[in-house]
């Protein structure tokens, strides 16, 4: 273990509010796993995987059917915090094509309440190539806003200004005090892979080979979700599982 003593001042500096700069655009990374672009009053959330629980239930794996309510509850709190004019759901919002039909009435009502008074964009994902028309919002394959491009699946190779989901990045952080595995944003300043937001969405370690082709020049930094805030952590300090 390194014997470096870390001063309180350094700790303070590391716990200042978390900004991520992508393609020169500064976004706020929220501990819930959403991004907020203040200038556009735009909130971005990835991989909600609504109705994942009931999707398993179809195969008689009877997971607690509260995941949609839990996910929408977390999202409602994030939306209340930022009051965005527009929300982009970055694909895989629904765990499968029939997910929207299985949603309970109460969950539908919660979703409608979140959409009220703001633009809502469903980006198509591999789990939900055709986002449901019945649930409000508009469907799009990808969307471009200024220097930023929002799509579900990241393109291979360098891709300046892309914000994507799909991979569910998590970082395993090891220090002298212990080890943690948490969801994270992965970014090299040019592009960003967002953490999955869904209550039952699993994670893929940042050290997995799947991330390598996306960051050919240099390894991404992990912006790890803490309980209250996001912590920027060097790639070298993120371990394989």
């Amino acid at each position: 273990m390194t014997g470096a003593r870390i001063s309180i001042a350094t700790l303070r500096a590391a716990t200042a509010p978390q900004e991520i700069v992508i393609a020169g655009v500064s976004l706020t990374a929220d501990a819930s796993g959403v991004l907020f672009l203040d200038s556009e009053r735009l909130l971005i959330v990835a991989d909600l995987h609504l109705e994942k629980g009931s999707s398993y239930a179809r195969r008689r794996v009877l997971l607690p059917p509260f995941d949609t309510a839990a996910t929408l509850g977390h999202l409602a709190r994030a939306i209340a915090r930022y009051n965005p004019a527009r929300v982009i759901a970055l694909g895989d919002s629904f765990h499968d094509r029939a997910a929207a039909e299985r949603m309970g009435d109460q969950d539908r009502a919660s979703l409608r309440a979140l959409q009220a008074g703001r633009d809502w964009i469903w980006i198509a994902g591999n789990h939900d190539p055709l986002p449901p028309a019945a649930l409000g919002g508009t469907a799009q394959d990808e969307i471009r806003i200024g220097a930023l491009t929002f799509r579900h699946e990241p393109r291979a190779g360098a891709c300046y200004g892309e914000i994507a989901g799909h991979l569910h990045p998590v970082a395993r952080v090891v220090t002298a005090s212990g080890s943690l595995r948490r969801r994270c944003f992965a970014s090299d300043g040019e592009r960003c892979i967002m953490p999955a937001f869904g209550a039952y969405a699993g994670g893929l370690n940042l050290r997995d080979v799947a991330f390598a082709p996306l960051f050919p020049a240099r390894a991404p930094q992990a912006h790890v979700l803490g309980r209250q805030r996001v912590y920027a952590i060097a790639h070298a300090q993120c371990h394989a599982d």
């Binding site: 509260f66 212990g178 070298a236």
Partner: protein, 852 residues
């Protein structure tokens, strides 16, 4: 009317058997005849006998006698004679061994019996034949029995059953396996009402608990099997290694005594060297070989090693080819080695009964005393060894008390019963409550379990259309789809190891440098030999390139691919020692009380090595000795921190839980705790605030600090985030069948398919905190990883009896636990602090204040 004698009726040993005994120069032992008499009277019986007392033959004698009589009588029933006796062993290898031993008398007496085993290794075709045309005697394990009972053939298969023999019963009843077995026993009684049960057990603390386990209960607790006890064997020759070396203050390596242990092995024919953890087994094995100038055949045996390797060691042992085996509790039970004439127990014995079991592994002949040497690996363990030797010489026992049947096992069993045949809820509840561990199961809990099995048991009733079991038109519960039975068969059993990864040997490649740079671990070459399995959470503490001991070799971790840890052989002789905890036992409450008594009474110190007595004298002079009924708390400053050391002697698990809760409370009181470590005897907490001064000035009270209400809200709050609780929940989720541990044909990708139970736990806790699986997990936590029950007892015991000693410097007694700091993981509310620390490293690196 004369009072009925409690003595057993006289048994009739048929001439064939009497002759057989005589031909071998044996006389049937009293307990063998008594057991026969009880069986002939149709009574279930518990036989308590020491190792080597002919327990197995006693258990089978009634069956052999009956089967011999059946063979002599003209057969009038059509078809085969059917299954007569079922034998259940906790170990596959033991079932195979017993079958072999049984063949001999059966053949010598010309009984023409079919005696077969059924284990995970039995071929599919043989299993199928066994179901159609069962042998007269079938030897198997609890899991295989559960599978047989869940099949539609179970009625046919077990209708002819006359007897079930449960071997090593004392070892099975203490776990969830025992719960499952009890439920299966209840089902056997339903199918074959005339059947009786025979339990074979080593001496335990309370025989009545086992006697109740064997027979149907009605809730009164008065139903008990008959009891037959064999006379105890010769007193064991027990001693503590009187080391010439300096006794370490802490640690469990016993490195100081390796030379002396080696000398003992040299002078014995065959020695079993018992240790408490796999890590210790690896360490001792390596150290012994380092000084093995005589090239003695010394082998290693523990639960992580590949099964084929373990079997090779067992066979070599049975053939007398080995001089010593370094082993963990995997060899506590079972197979008769015969030639073992010395047991060496390294480290703390943890319990009097456990020690007695291990001693019993030497010399399976009753008339000769077993020889055993205890080797304490540190000073506290000297006290524990002394207390255990005294307890063993008195014959005191401290086996754990009877368990309450686990709810997750109940859920698994209910599904199994639906797979066998449609059932009525009322009848199944009655059957289940006849099993001793479930005799207090109320109907509401049973219904909750039934609801869980059917549709998940959720308040939100959205899964009715996906039900696993449904009621038919007659109100009987049946499976909704054959796939449900298939899934049940893949998931049966109660043993959920921590996520295990296969350890596979590949060509070396990765280095430490590759792991820390921004390079990616590309695909590694696969295809090497599998060395065994290791817990995933142990590997979490390693980075690629780190070395550890496994299977007696030093290995370097190359990387983890799917469910395999790829390793290569490493050079050098200072591995990062494996700290994987497989097989750690907590110190028994009984032994802990004896250790406290020994500590508090200087008159007893004469029996201790001089250096230990001097250490205690020094403690008496510098601080105070913990009293037998007290809790001693010392406070002192050291290296700019303020320490609080408490000595509850309640075992590491209870101390860890106490540490978690105490630091929370200290946090609230503004004492700014920074971390703690726990060992079996003590707990050390360090803090920014001077706790000693606050106690002195009456600003904080110890009774308040240790008040029992910490088990209320504080506990609830902590449990929510506790990794231990999540691990406990995961086991319940697997055993209950919520998530599948394996998918047909998809075993390999299981890790990817299975959803994280941590996520399920978080969601369920918030949305349905009273769900049956959370109840199951809490009940497990009370006796399992958190040892809450024991902590609660301790807190109640010490109220008003806390002795505080404010010291200017560290006390002699505190040295061992203080030495654990830096060696054992430090606990605390680390969560976000870990992230802050890692983030600060990044900032510091960027500003150039520390090197990378």
């Amino acid at each position: 009317m004369r009072k009925r004698k409690t003595q057993a009726p006289r048994a009739l040993l048929p001439p064939l058997f009497a002759d057989w005994f005589a031909a071998r120069g044996w006389t049937p032992r009293n307990h063998q005849l008594e057991l026969l008499a009880h069986a002939q009277a149709g009574e279930s019986t518990l036989l308590v006998a020491p190792t080597g007392a002919g327990k197995t033959l006693a258990g089978f004698l009634p069956s052999l006698v009956e089967l011999a009589a059946q063979a002599a009588a003209p057969r009038n029933a059509p078809g085969g004679p059917g299954l007569h006796t079922l034998y259940i062993s906790p170990l596959k290898a033991l079932a195979v061994d017993v079958a072999r031993n049984l063949e001999l008398p059966a053949a010598e007496m010309n009984l023409h019996l079919r005696i077969e085993t059924r284990t995970g290794d039995t071929s599919a075709s043989k299993r199928q034949r066994q179901r159609r045309d069962p042998p007269q005697i079938l030897l198997t394990t609890p899991e295989q029995l559960a599978l047989l009972l869940a099949s539609p053939d179970s009625q046919f298969l077990f209708a002819t059953l006359r007897r079930v023999v449960l071997d090593e019963l004392h070892a099975m009843v203490t776990s969830k396996r025992g719960d499952l077995l009890a439920l299966d026993l209840a089902r056997l009684r339903t199918i074959a009402p005339g059947m009786s049960a025979t339990g074979l057990s080593a001496t335990v603390r309370d025989h009545d608990e086992l006697r109740r386990y064997l027979v149907a209960q009605d809730g009164s607790g008065s139903q008990m099997a008959a009891l037959v006890t064999a006379p105890p064997g010769a007193a064991a020759d027990l001693s503590m290694l009187d080391t010439r070396e300096r006794l370490p203050w802490s640690g469990h390596g016993a490195a100081h005594a390796i030379g002396e242990i080696y000398e003992q092995i040299k002078h014995a024919t065959t020695a079993l060297v018992f240790v408490n953890t796999r890590a210790q087994a690896e360490g001792i094995f390596q150290q012994l070989w380092r000084i093995n100038d005589d090239n003695l055949p010394i082998a290693l045996h523990h639960g992580s090693l590949d099964a084929s390797q373990r079997r090779r060691v067992e066979e070599a042992m049975a053939q007398g080819l080995l001089r010593a085996v370094v082993c963990t509790s995997t060899l506590d039970l079972g197979i008769d080695w015969g030639a073992v004439d010395l047991v060496i127990n390294i480290g703390a014995p943890k319990g009097a009964s456990r020690l007695a079991q291990r001693i019993g592994r030497a010399n399976h002949r009753l008339d000769e005393p077993s020889r055993a040497i205890l080797v304490p690996s540190n000073r506290f363990e000297v006290l524990e060894c002394r207390a255990a030797i005294d307890a063993a010489n008195e014959g005191a026992q401290d086996t754990p008390p009877a368990r309450r049947g686990a709810l997750d096992v109940l859920c698994q069993h209910i599904l199994g019963m639906a797979c066998a045949a449609p059932f009525s809820a009322h009848a199944l509840h009655a059957e289940i409550s006849s099993a001793e561990p479930y005799s207090a199961l109320d109907r509401a809990s049973f219904d909750a379990a039934l609801d869980f099995v059917a549709t998940g048991g959720y308040a939100l009733r959205t899964y009715d259309r996906f039900a696993k079991i449904r009621q038919n038109s007659e109100g009987l519960w049946r499976i909704s789809n054959p796939a449900v039975a298939q899934a049940y068969r893949m998931n049966v059993g109660t043993i959920v190891e921590a996520d295990m990864l296969k350890v596979r040997l590949v060509q070396g490649r990765a280095s430490k440098a590759a792991a820390s740079g921004p390079t990616y671990t590309g695909p590694l070459r696969r295809g090497g030999r599998v060395l065994g399995e290791i817990e995933e959470y142990f590997l979490e503490t390693l980075a690629p390139g780190d070395t550890f001991l496994f299977g007696g070799e030093i290995l370097a971790l190359q990387g983890i691919v799917e469910n395999e840890a790829l390793v290569s052989r490493a050079r050098g002789d200072t591995p990062k020692v494996p700290s994987y905890a497989g097989g750690k036992f907590p110190l028994s409450t009984y032994l802990a009380a004896r250790v406290r008594a020994l500590l508090s009474n200087p008159k007893l110190w004469k029996s201790l090595p001089a250096q230990v007595a001097e250490w205690l004298e020094l403690q008496r002079a510098r601080s105070v000795l913990p009293g037998a009924g007290d809790l001693l708390v010392e406070t002192f400053p050291r290296g700019g921190r303020n320490y609080l050391v408490a000595y509850p002697f309640e075992g590491r698990l209870a101390h860890q839980t106490l540490g978690m809760l105490l630091t929370r409370r200290m946090e609230r009181l503004g004492l700014m705790p920074m971390g703690f470590v726990a060992n079996e005897y003590a707990l050390a907490i360090w803090s920014v605030a001077d706790v000693g001064a606050r106690l002195r000035n009456g600003l904080v009270s110890l009774d308040g600090l240790f008040a029992q209400d910490m088990l209320g809200d504080d506990l609830e709050e902590w449990l929510e985030e506790s990794a231990l609780m999540k691990r406990t929940f995961r086991q319940c989720a697997v055993i209950s069948g919520l998530i599948e541990r394996r998918f047909p044909g998809k075993e390999k990708s299981g890790r990817q398919v299975t959803i994280s139970t941590d996520l399920i736990y978080d969601v369920l806790r918030r949305h349905q905190p009273d769900h049956i699986l959370l109840r199951a997990a809490r009940e497990d936590a009370a006796v399992g990883l958190l040892d809450l029950a024991r902590l609660a007892q301790m807190l109640a015991r010490v109220q008003g009896h806390i002795v505080h000693k404010d010291l200017a410097r560290i006390s002699p007694l505190a040295v061992p636990v203080m030495l654990e700091i830096g060696r054992e993981p430090v606990y605390g509310e680390a969560q976000d602090e870990i992230l802050a620390e890692a983030a600060a490293m990044l900032v510091a690196e960027a500003s150039g204040s520390v090197g990378p």
